[in-house]
C-alpha cells in the first residue's frame, strides 16, 4: 500500500514536467518509423492505446494536408495554416484524455505529438509550446536519419534519438 502510494507520487511528479505522453514519427507511406511514449501504463492509458491515437491521427493529418493542398488561397478551417510553409499543422483532434498535434515535413514525414489533458502540465500546454517541441523533434529526426547507416524508410532504432525524444517529452531539454 505504502509502496504504491510512493509510486503514485513519483508519477505525479513526472507528470508535472511531462509535456507529451507520446511522440511518433510516421513515414510517408503511413507506417510508423518511431513511436515513443512515457507515462505509466494503466488499463486505459498504455502504449497500445497511444498507438491507436497516433494511428487515427493520421486520418485527421491527411485530411488537413489535402485541404491545405486544395485551398491554395488559405483554408477556412479554424486552425488555419497562415503560412503555407508552416510545417506545424496544429491540433489534429482530441479525446477526453488526450490531445493530438501534427507536423509534417517537406518530405511528408509526419510527426505526431500526443499530450495528456488529464495531467496538469499537459492540459495547460500552449500551442506555441507544441510547435516548438515538434520543431525540435523535426531537428532530432533529421539528425537521426543523417546517420549514413540508416536506410530511409526503415524504423528508427537509434538509442540516442530515443533518449533525446524522451527528454523532449519530459520537457527538460
Amino acid at each position: 500500500m505504502l509502496a504504491s502510494g510512493r509510486h503514485q507520487d513519483i508519477f505525479v511528479d513526472s507528470v508535472y514536467t511531462t509535456m507529451a505522453v507520446c511522440v511518433a514519427v510516421i513515414g510517408k507511406d503511413n507506417s510508423p518509423l518511431y513511436i515513443g511514449g512515457i507515462g505509466n501504463d494503466t488499463s486505459t492509458d498504455n502504449e497500445l492505446s497511444r498507438q491507436w491515437l497516433v494511428h487515427t491521427a493520421l486520418d485527421a493529418l491527411e485530411e488537413r494536408l489535402t485541404t491545405t493542398n486544395n485551398n491554395t488561397s488559405g483554408s477556412n478551417s479554424n486552425t488555419t495554416r497562415t503560412d503555407m510553409r508552416d510545417l506545424y499543422l496544429g491540433l489534429l483532434y482530441s479525446t477526453d484524455t488526450h490531445k493530438i498535434y501534427g507536423y509534417v515535413t517537406n518530405t511528408r514525414i509526419k510527426l505526431v505529438l500526443v499530450t495528456s489533458s488529464t495531467s496538469p502540465s499537459g492540459s495547460n500546454i500552449r500551442d506555441a509550446e507544441v510547435r516548438t517541441a515538434l520543431r525540435r523533434l523535426h531537428a532530432l529526426y533529421a539528425d537521426a536519419i543523417c546517420n549514413p547507416f540508416h536506410l530511409p524508410g526503415d524504423q528508427i532504432t537509434s538509442q540516442k534519438f530515443d533518449k533525446q525524444v524522451k527528454n523532449l517529452m519530459l520537457n527538460n531539454v
Binding site: 510517408k28 507511406d29 503511413n30 507506417s31 510508423p32 502504449e47 497500445l48 498507438q51 491507436w52 494511428h55 487515427t56 493520421l58 486520418d59 485527421a60 485530411e63 479554424n78 483532434y93 482530441s94 479525446t95 477526453d96 489533458s117 488529464t118 496538469p120 492540459s123 495547460n124 536506410l151 530511409p152 524508410g153
Partner: protein, 1183 residues
Amino acid sequence: MKGVDSSPADPEGMTNKPIITCAGDWNLFCTLEAPLVAAIPQDSCEWRRSYGRPPKSVYLEASFLKFNKDKVQSELNLLKRPIFHIYWTDCVDVEYYKTTLREDIELWLKQLEKTGITDWMIVLVETYDIRKTNKLLPRTTVLDRIKGDFAVKQTEDRFLSVINPIKSEARSAESWRALVAKVRHFILVAYNKALIKFEEYMREQREKRNDPEWDFCKYFILQEQLAFVLEMLGLYEEALVQYDELDALFSQFVLNSNVTESPKWLDTFKQPVTAWQAVKLTALVPQHLRDLIIKKKASLLDFRSYLFQRQSAMLLLMFKPVEIASRCITVVHNTLMELSLLGVSAVEGAAACWALLACAETLRAVDRLAATNNALDMCTPVQAPLLHNAKDKLHELGKLCGLLPGSPDPSSEQLHLVVMLSAGMGDSEPNNQQPTPTDRLKEALCSKTSFQQYYLELAEMAMGTYKHIGRLRFARLIGRDLASFYSELGETGKAVVFLMDALRSYEEQGWRDLAAQTRLELVAAAHKMNDMDRYTKLSATIACTAELEILVRNFYFEEMLKCIKEKLSDKQDTVLAELNDCFKLVSATLIPSERGVYITDNKVQCRLLLECNLPKEVTCTRTAISIEPCKEDRNESGKRTPVKCYKTDLTVNGSVSTQTNSPRKSTSDVVESELSNIVSSIRLDDLKPKNLLLNPLQITSQLHYKEDKTLQKATVECQNPKATLKRSDSTKYRKPSTTTRSNYQNSFHRDEFKLKPGLNEIDLEFISNKCGTFMLGQVSVIVEGKLEFLSNALIGTKMGFEVVTQGISVYLNKVDPKKDLVAGLEHAMELVVTSGSSHIEENATIDLKTSAGLQIGLAEKGSPMTRELSIPIPACKPFETTRVPLKLFANLQARPEKSIEHTVVVRCPWRAGAEEVRLQWARPLAPAWRLLTAHARKFVHVALRGAPPPARAPPLALAAPALACRGAALADLNPPATRHMVVSPDGTTVSFMWELLKDPLVKAEPLKATFTVEYRPLDTDEPYRTFSCPFDIQDYMTLFVIRTKVEPSKGSDFCRASQVCCLHLSVQRVNETEYTSLMYEVLADQTMWAVLGRTAGVITMESSSGSPADVCLDVMPLAAGYLPLPTVRLSKYIAANTKDPKKDISAHPRLEPFSPGQVYHAGKAKQVHVLPPAPKEHIDPSL
C-alpha cells in the same frame, strides 16, 4: 435568421431591445409608437465606433418606456438602462410653450443632466398645414423657440420637427424618415458612449481578478451584458468574442487552480453536480441557468452548459453549424477535464450523460440548422467525431449500468444508478413529436435491448460518417469497438468481419503492434466461434509475433499444438495458412549436380533457408516446393527426349563430360534465351523493390562565372530529381490474394524433421522422371501434420532447373590413345558403353560390321578375326560403363595413299539405324621400285620407307625379302644378313636389289614381279607378317646406246670457254627394234653450254646394220671447269603420214618417248675439262 427569430418566445427568454424613454406628451407618442417601432429596424445604420474599431452596419430595434425620473438605472446596467430619451410635443402655440412647455422641458433636461445623460432628443410633431407653406416669411415656430432656449452648439441637431404621419401620411414621409434616421443615429451614439464607459469598467473589474474577493460569477454577468448588447445590435460575432473571453478566463482559472491556490469563488463550481440536463441549442437565453450563475449556485456543468448554449446561440444566429459541432467536442472534452481537475463530485456517469446529451443535442441542432440551408455535406466532417464521442459515452454508461451484452443482469445498485441518472437529466420537453436525445438516452438506460439498439445506431452512424468523409482509420477504430460489442452479443461472425478489415489495414501500413493486438482479439473470436481452423492458424501467427510478450506467444504456441492434436486430428485436409505469417523464406538454392546437369531419375536438391518465428521447436511433417513445368519448353521436350543416344568419339579420350553441352545445341535459340533467364538461387530479400533513395543521385557541381571571369556562384544540381522524388508505390504493402495450394505431385520435399526457432537449413529432394525445364512454384511447410503454411508462388522469381535424359553412349576407343592406328598391325581397341541415365537390359548385343580390309575380333586369344562381330553387353544400371576389349586389323596394301580409311558400322538394339565410325589407318611401309640399266644389263631396285612423320607407326623389323618374277630369272644381289633391317617412321629407307637375268633371245614380254618381305614391330615376339608388293616390269630391253663426246675444234688442243667445240653424238642400236626413225635433242644447260646451230635432228637407223649413227654438233662452253656434257634425249620420230590419213589423224610428225630402260646413255656422267678462255693477244693501247 428570421427563422430563429420567429421561434416561439420562451418565457424564460429575454427580449433585449434598446430602451428609449419618452417624456412630454405621452398620448401623442402613443399614436406614433407603432409606426416608429416598426420603422426603426427597417433599415440599417452605420455604426462608427471609437478606438479604431471597424464601422458596422447595424439593424436596430427599440422599445419605448414612459420616462420616470425616479427609476434611473445605473449606467453599469446596460440592458435595463434606457439608452435614449425623447421628449415629444405637438405644441404649435408659442404662447403655450412660453407658459408651460418650456418649464416642462427644462425640468426634463435637468433630470437628465442630473444622471449625466446626454443622449436625448426633442421632437416636435406638427400637423401638415397647407396654408403654412404658402407663407413667404416663416414665422418663428415653437421649435425655433425650443432651440433658442436649450440648444448649445453640440446639441443643435437634437431638435427635430416631424410631420405627423398619422394625419397626413403622404406629406410626412420625408420628415418621418429623417426622424427615424436620427433616432437610429442617436441610439448608436448613445451606445457608443455607454459601451466605452462600460468596457472601461469591465476592464477594471477584470484586472481585479486576482483579488481574493473577486467573483467570477459577478464578472461573468457583467461582461455578458456587453455580449447581450452586441447581440441586440446584431453583432453576433462580437458577442461571441465576449463569451469566448469569458470561456478562456474561466478555463485558465480552472487550469491554474491545479497549480496554484484556487480562488474562493471557484468553490462554487466544486459543488456536487446534481443536474445534467441536455444543453438546448436555441437562440434563447436559458434563464434558469443564468439565474443559477447570478445566485452563485451554478454547478460546473450548469455553467458550461449555459456558456455553450450562449456561444451556440451566437453561432446559430451567424449560421455556423460546423463551428457549433466542432466547438461541442472541445467543450465536452474540456468540461470533463475540468470536472476531474476541480474534483467535482457527481454520480458516476453523470458526466458521461451530460457529454452524450451535449453531443446528441448538438447533432440535432446542427442537423436542423443545416437542413434548412442545404449545408448537410459541410457538416458531415464535424458530425462524425460527435457521433464517435456519443457512442463512447453511451458505452461508458452501458458499462456502468450493466447494460452491455454479456454482462450479468443489472444489480440493484446499477438500477438505482439508472434512476439517478435519469432524474439528473431532468424532464423532457413537452409536446415534442420526435423523441429528444434525453428521451432516447433515458429509454436506452432502461433496458439492454434499447441500449443495444441506441449504441449500434450511434456506432454505425459514426462509422458510416467517418467512412463518408474518408477517415477510414477512425472508422476501423469504431469497427473494433463494434467487433467487441458484437462479440459480447454472441454475433462473433460480425465481429470477425470488422476485425479482419482492421487487421488488414494495420498490416498493410506496417502497424505491427496494432495488428498483433487485433489478432489477439480475432483469436478470441475464433475460439468463441469454435472455428478451429482459424483458431489454429491465428495461434500460430500470434506465437510468431515478435511484438508480443513471450509468455503470450508460448501460450498460443501450446494452444496451436493442442488444437492440432485434439481438434484437427480427424480432419482429412490440412489447414492452410500463409507462410509469411510464421516463417520467412530467406533463400532457396538449387544444389548443383555432380554431373553438371540434372539427369532424369536422379536426385535434384534444393536448399531452403527458412527462418522460423515460432518460439519453440516444432515437428515439420513435410516441407515441399511445388514444381511446375516450364510452359515454353513443353513443345521442345518431345524433340529432346531422345537425346543423342550415343556418340563415338575417337579424337578425345572419350570422357562423358564432352557430351554435356550436346542437348542444348539441339534446342532452338528461343528456348535457349528462356533457359538462360532461369536462376538457380534466390535470396528473397533481393526480390523486394529497390529503395529508390539508396540509388546514387546524379549530382553535378557547376561554377558560374560573371563576365569579368569572377566567380558568380557555385551550384550543386541534381540531374534527374523526379526519379528520386517519385512517390513510392503503394502496392508495396499489397498482399497477394489468398494463396491456393499448388499441385505438389511433383515437388522437392523432405519429411519429418524438427524446425528450430530461427534459421533452418533444409535440403529438399526431388527425383524427376521426365526431362524438361521446371520452375519452382510454391513453398509448403506442414507443421505437426495438419497445419500447412503456403508461400506465394516463386514462379515470378524465374527460379528453375533443367532436367535432361542422358542416353546410352557407345564409344569405340583406342586403348592407347597416343598411338595411331597402323595398317598391317593388330590394334587393341575397346567398345565403351556408358549407360547414361537409363538401364541396359539383359541380352543386349551390339553388332559391328567392318568395311573390306578391316577385321575385328574379341581381344581374347584365339578368337577369330571377322568382318562382322556381335558383342553381348551385360545388363547395366544407370551411370555404369561397360568396356569390351577388341582387336582390329587392317590389311596393309601397297598403295600410294598415305592412310587408309575404314568404317565400322555399329548397330545398337536400343536405337533404330546404324552409326558409322570412320577409322583412319596409317601405312607403316611405303614401297618404291625402280628398274636400273647398265648397258644391256637390268637390275630391280626395291626401296621400303617408313611412314612419314604425322603418322605414328612403330618401327618395324624386316626379314626375308624376296622378289619373284615369272618369266625371268633373278639374281639376288642383297647381302644375306637382312635380319636386323629396321624401318622406322623417321623416314629410314631400306633398299633391296636384284639383277634381272634376261635371256636376250626371248622376246621382251612384260614381266610380273612380286616383292615380299616379312615384318613385325621391332622388339616384339609377334609372328612376322608378310608384306607383298606386286608390280609389272615393261619395256625393260635396252634398244639404243647413246655416246657423247666433246672435242675442241680443229686447231685447238683444249676446250676453252667461249670457243666453239664439237659435240660428237653417236647412237648405236643394240637390240632389235621396229623404231628406226629417231630424233635426238641436245638439252644443254644454258648456263654452261650454248648450242650453235641446230640442236636437234632426225636420224634413221637401218635395222639391218649395227653401225652407229654419228652426228657432230657445234657447242660452246660458257664457263670454265669440268662441265657435264650436254644431255641428249632420244625419242621415237613418227613422220607425218600423208598417204593414209585414216591411220594417223595427225598430219604432222610427232615424237614419242622411250621407256627409261630402252635407251642407255653411256656418257651421262661424263665431264669435259674446259679451260678458261685464251688470254687476249693484244691490249688496246689507248687504254
